[in-house]
């Protein structure tokens, strides 16, 4: 019955799996890429800022001014240096840009994010310059270095994305670029200066609207895209051995490592299982089973929203080859006999991981594992149940 349950679970997960594959690489991301959560949160925070600006307009010069919160922050450097005329122009421009920004951040399919592990630089004025991001207007795509992006604090990310999104808008009839003067921003890089000022104003607006507080726990939550998982689990199981000496109840622990190459991963695990039984009040059976198993895993995220608690939870299906070694001891007040048995078997498991904190996860799993087939002690064959279901709970760390 339990094996059927596993099969049904796996079968029901297939649509989710298909959906996850289809969603890979889309705007919001599938929770399976480094940086996706930070990107999505930044977009949400920009949405909040945009909505705040639209719904609660303030004077133009106030929009591009630093608040007390950010008075000493580097993000205000772009605002504190503005002249009155520039501040006014900044506020007017931002009010006109927010309508375009609203369209850009409204759904998941308008602007795409492309992740890279390489440093990003651009050619400007015949010279290469290192940048945090680059935007392809034609593709409506922002390219980011995942590690660098994740290392930023939330306000820095909002500033950066706001700046890049500006490049997907037009001011007047012209695309907004980093080059050339714009209104009272008369220098050769006046446009960049204006964009930075508007991005700074967006960041401050997001802060004022409480967007950073709202998503703090989301950003602190462990993320499922991590490729290396170490699991420590404890389990219990019961068996129905054929022999009166066979152990009926086992418990144990395991240490497991999984490395994900994609949705598929490779795993290796060591399990120690022990069980004992007393017969006729003075005959003791003790079984000690050590298992090394190795196999493949397939991971899916059954819930769509990666910014939610359950959105980071993931299901992992595994199939392994078990190398099982058992040591069986049968004793009474006068006898003490031991036998060993080795076996190669198969096992499978379904694990559900739930994010906790600080990179740690909780897990619950149901496995179908192999036991040693039989022992021979003093001419007596002690048969085990060859495979059993085991329920386990554990803690994992992903990195």
């Amino acid at each position: 019955m339990k094996f059927k349950t596993i099969c049904l679970l796996f079968a029901s997960a297939l649509p989710i799996l298909a959906s996850s594959i289809a969603d890979a690489g889309t705007f919001v991301g599938n929770g399976g890429n480094a940086g996706d959560v930070e990107w999505s949160v930044a977009i949400k925070q920009i949405q909040t800022a945009v909505t705040s600006i639209i719904d609660d307009p303030v004077k133009d010069e106030v929009l591009c001014s630093c608040t007390k919160t950010y008075s000493n922050a580097s993000i205000c450097d772009a605002l504190n240096s503005l002249s009155h005329e520039q501040r006014l122009f900044c506020g007017q421009s931002l009010k006109s840009q927010v309508r375009q920004l609203q369209l850009l951040v409204r759904d998941n399919n308008t602007v795409h994010v492309s992740w890279t592990t390489e440093a990003i630089d651009v050619l400007e004025g015949g010279q290469r310059r290192a940048v945090d991001a680059v935007t392809d207007r034609r593709l409506a795509q922002v390219t980011l270095n995942a590690e660098h992006f994740r290392s930023m604090n939330p306000s820095e990310r909002v500033f950066l994305i706001s700046h890049e999104l500006m490049h997907l808008t037009t001011l007047g009839d012209q695309p907004l670029t980093d080059e050339g003067p714009q209104g009272p921003f008369i220098s050769r890089e006046g446009s960049r200066q204006l964009i930075n000022a508007m991005a700074a104003a967006m960041t401050i607006e997001a802060e004022e609207a409480g967007a950073f507080d709202r998503y703090r726990s989301t950003l602190n939550r462990p993320q499922g895209w991590k490729t290396n998982w170490v699991d420590l689990t404890f389990f219990g199981t019961s068996a129905s051995p054929a022999s009166v000496y066979g152990v009926s109840n086992y418990s144990g622990g395991s240490l497991r490592y999984t490395h994900y190459l994609s949705a598929f991963g490779l795993n290796a695990e060591y399990t120690s299982t022990k069980g004992s039984k007393t017969i006729l009040s003075s005959v003791n059976s003790n079984e000690d089973v050590s298992t090394f198993r190795s196999g493949v895993s397939y991971r899916i995220f059954p819930f769509k929203n990666p910014l939610s608690y359950f959105g980071q939870s993931n299901l992992v299906f595994s199939a392994d080859v078990d190398f099982v070694k058992g040591i069986f001891n049968l004793s009474d007040p006068f006898n003490n006999e031991t036998a060993t048995s080795n076996r190669v078997g198969m096992s499978g498991s379904v694990r559900y991981y739930i994010p906790v904190a600080l990179g740690f996860w909780a897990s619950i799993a149901e496995s179908y594992v192999s036991l040693p087939a039989a022992y021979s002690i003093s001419g007596v064959t002690i048969e085990d149940q060859k495979s059993v279901f085991a329920t386990s709970i554990g803690v994992s760390y992903a990195f």
Binding site: V244, L280, V283, S331, D332, P333, E337, S378, V380
Partner: protein
């Protein structure tokens, strides 16, 4: 009385019987425990393991045991310490005693109201004679193929055995041989005759084969001057005389005319501490710290005293030909409420003497909580507290132990 410790240790029913005896004799405060379990028997009291000596007292190399853990009969080879065969019994929940003849391979299993005879192949015959009581003693003559069983309803089962150990002709006889006399004790002698002591003080020499053939007692009786005889033992090498114990004396009595060849009167200060038919029949008298072996050399009755203080004699083995006398004694084996207990039995010692001058040849502590069978050279100890099965053969000479293990492992219920 039987030589082996097993009677005292193993059979619950007999332990209860010994409790009754203790209560009636009013043992209290002192250390002299009178078991007297061998009285009113034919042959020797039955035990859950066969003796290590055959009916002539020669040591055996095989022993049969009813194992209470798995409720099966194990047939052990003591030379190689292996299990030759394991036999299922009828009514395993009942208490069982066994008898074994190594010559024919016959194993007799006794339980409440039942006898099962196994031949040398293990083929069984259930109830070759149908008893209505609990078998309590038996005599076996393998040379003549005769088995005599006596139950607590005073009924005697006579059974002829084939050379392969299978049962042959049989008859069930009652205790009344003559008009108003009934049997009180008995045993087989070397020529295959069954000697029965009768309540009128006479001795009957029964022709077992004819009795079975005619389905009635066929015997010749002689009157004696003795009173009620409670114990009869053969004198090996002599077919015309037996040893007889009454309340007052141990007598060597003629089967020809009932005359008393020799007699030892039991002093009022003496008590019969043990009766043994192993090897050479004898009794052990105890008076304070002195033990006396009273026996017959076939010609007269002799007595040999030795200063030996002990609470309880659990077995006694006298072999005149080998000039040896072995005793198993204990000073802490007795519970005043329940009598000797198999589980609690401990602090037992084997003492072996050169009989002619009582030079001490061996003093040896015996394993606690073990069921013991003792021969001239070995002790076979079975440990009932080991459900998986554990036994030892212990050399009396050097104490060397060889174990047999796990013989119950394949027979634990549920396996």
């Amino acid at each position: 009385m039987r030589f082996s410790l097993n009677l005292v240790l193993s059979t619950a029913g007999l332990t209860v019987a010994s409790v009754a005896t203790l209560a009636l004799t009013g043992c209290g405060g002192g250390s002299n425990v009178d078991l007297n379990i061998g009285n009113n028997t034919i042959g020797k009291p039955l035990a859950s393991s066969s003796a290590q000596s055959d009916s002539n007292g020669s040591d055996r190399t095989e022993v049969v045991v009813f194992d209470k853990n798995v409720r099966l009969i194990h047939h052990f080879d003591l030379s190689h310490l292996s299990v030759i065969n394991t036999l299922e019994v009828e009514h395993p929940e009942a208490s069982h005693t066994v008898l074994f003849d190594q010559t024919t391979g016959m194993i007799a299993d006794f339980s409440d109201f039942h006898i099962t005879v196994f031949d040398h192949t293990g083929a069984r015959t259930v109830d070759p004679v149908k008893l209505t009581g609990h078998p309590k003693s038996a005599a076996l003559d393998s040379a003549h193929g005769i088995l005599v069983v006596y139950d607590d309803m005073n009924t005697v089962g006579l059974l002829l055995l084939n050379p392969d150990g299978s049962p042959g002709a049989k008859w069930l006889g009652g205790p009344l041989l003559q008009n108003d006399t009934s049997l009180t004790a008995g045993d087989l002698i070397d020529d295959g005759s069954l000697i029965l002591a009768l309540s009128d003080g006479s001795l009957a020499k029964v022709d077992v084969v004819q009795s079975i053939a005619l389905q009635s007692w066929v015997f010749k009786s002689v009157s004696t001057s003795l009173g009620r005889m409670k114990w009869v033992a053969p004198v090996h090498g002599f077919n015309d005389r037996v040893l007889v114990l009454t309340d007052t004396a141990l007598s060597l009595v003629s089967l020809i005319n009932g005359s008393v060849f020799a007699q030892h009167v039991i002093d009022a200060s003496d008590r019969v501490a043990f009766e043994s038919k192993t090897k050479d029949a004898h009794i052990v008298l105890q008076s304070g710290s002195q033990l006396s072996a009273v026996y017959s050399d076939g010609i007269t009755i002799r007595i040999k005293p030795i200063d030996l203080l002990t609470d309880l004699i659990l077995s006694s083995r006298l072999c005149l030909a080998e000039d040896s006398w072995s005793l198993v004694t204990s000073d802490s084996a007795v519970s005043w409420t329940y009598g000797p207990s198999e589980v609690e039995t401990k602090d037992r010692e084997l003492r072996k003497f050169r009989f002619s001058d009582f030079a001490a040849l061996k003093k040896m502590a015996l394993p606690d909580q073990a069921q013991l069978d003792i021969s001239e050279a070995y002790i076979f100890a079975l440990y009932p507290t080991s459900p998986l099965g554990y036994g030892e053969r212990i050399s009396i000479q050097d104490g060397q132990r060889v174990a047999i293990k796990m013989f119950n492992a394949g027979h634990i219920p549920g396996h």
